[in-house]
């Protein structure tokens, strides 16, 4: 069955909205690491044992897979509609077009690479070990150790900035794609999009920065 371009876009949008909710929740839970070791460990314990969370994990993976698969298919179709040999010799910047909007796919690739690294840094040393019947490493120690290395702080910063740009366009774009927009709401949604993206940027960046500078309270 060949899905129409708009159906693909709607699927990208719905999975994207789901990922936006996940991203916000993930931030709130992780910020506890800055506040106290006990809170953070309690959160990790809860996430490890709660049945609802356990059930959500495969849904989350599915959300990523769907988003990625449809986004890739979507991009291929768009490249075919404007192939390399049909590029303009002279092209100017079109007024009002954001850099994010033009680079969603590349940003997405950086995001997914960051996720793979992140899973390796944490998930493979915690949940995976538990699953294999081995001793899980302490989550808080993992954070401290990881960000004691400046190179990881830098890599995580690049990753977070890519997420920032991706969601800065993605947030309002998702509403537009499912038709929840009009001339009145366009500027409002674009404003909310910026607010959301900045919260994500500052929130997530604060974790590696606090840990590398030793500003966390514990």
């Amino acid at each position: 069955m060949i899905l129409s371009s708009l159906t693909k876009k709607i699927i990208i949008s719905l999975s994207g909205l789901f990922l936006l909710v996940f991203l916000a929740l993930h931030l709130v839970l992780n910020l506890t690491a800055i506040c106290s070791r006990e809170w953070y460990e309690a959160v990790c314990e809860f996430m490890d044992t709660n049945i609802a969370i356990k059930l959500m994990v495969p849904v989350l993976v599915l959300g990523f897979v769907i988003h990625l698969a449809f986004a890739t298919a979507f991009e291929f179709k768009n490249w075919a509609a404007r192939p390399r040999e049909l590029k303009y010799a002279v092209a100017t910047h079109t007024k009002g077009v954001s850099w994010s909007a033009k680079n969603m796919f590349v940003l997405g690739i950086v995001v997914i690479l960051g996720i793979v690294l992140h899973l390796f840094n944490f998930w493979s040393k915690m949940q995976l070990q538990g699953f294999l019947g081995n001793e899980e490493e302490n989550a808080y120690d993992l954070v401290v150790n990881l960000f004691s290395c400046k190179c990881f702080v830098l890599i995580y910063a690049i990753w977070i900035i890519a997420i920032f740009f991706h969601v800065q366009h993605g947030f309002w774009s998702a509403f537009q794609s499912i038709g929840l927009n009009n001339s009145k709401w366009l500027p409002r949604l674009q404003f909310l999009s910026k607010v959301y993206a900045w919260i994500i940027l500052i929130g997530y960046l604060s974790i590696p920065i606090c840990f590398t500078l030793g500003l966390q309270c514990s």
Binding site: S4, S5, L6, T7, K8, K9, I10, F74, K77, N78, A80, A81, R82, P83, L86, K87, Y88, A89, V90, A91, T92, T94, K95, G96, V97, S98, A101, K102, M104, H169, W172, S173, Q176, S177, I178, G179, L180, N181, N182, S183, L186
Partner: protein, 246 residues
Amino acid sequence: MKFTLKVWRQKNAKSKGRFETYKIDNISPDTSFLEMLDILNNNLVHEGKEPVAFDHDCREGICGMCSLYINGRAHGPDDEITTCQLHMRKFKDGDTITIEPWRSAAFPVVKDLVVNRRAFDQILQAGGFISISGIVPDANAIPIRKEDADESMDASACIGCGACVATCKNGSAMLFVAARVSALERLPQGKIEAAKRAKSMVQKMDELGFGACSNTQACEAECPKGISIAHIARLNRLFIQAKLQD
């Protein structure tokens, strides 16, 4: 005024095109861009050379025939105008002006600067009409909210020029389709088939090799009629409605 023109020349759809450089002199600032090209062609004919093929018709901004990507912008360096409404005073004396055809897989070049925009007609044939039959009440007898009439009117301003497709990084025709769908949907006669129309026109658009929408807003920035992407949101809404009715 004096200009150096770099013009895309291409014999036919199959041949490989290239830029040809021409010098042109003695152009009044009040000459329109198309008149300037007429002068260039006149010179070329006098020199025994093949004139440059370009599209045009009304020359007053209402037919949508004139196209041209001028110095990296659809319809040249001004907002909300067509190429026929562009004047040479918008350029500086001595400027080099690069003129290219619309570029998109769905708009193949026919010759030089002329592209085939039949795909737009095909999209319209897929649903850009009202087919309800029976006794139709007099249009003036049907009450229509002022806001709806205004929105329909705004969307109807689309002249089918293709600047949206030419500017879009995905070569998408969503703004054009949305304008046509919206113009009809806002009126009682067109509302009845709105969802079905949205679906069949999008389907046709896909089939004809146009890309999909990334919501970059490039189309509305270059649309000579200032059609808003709010119409694309409505198209998306109607498309979902149609899918739910399937």
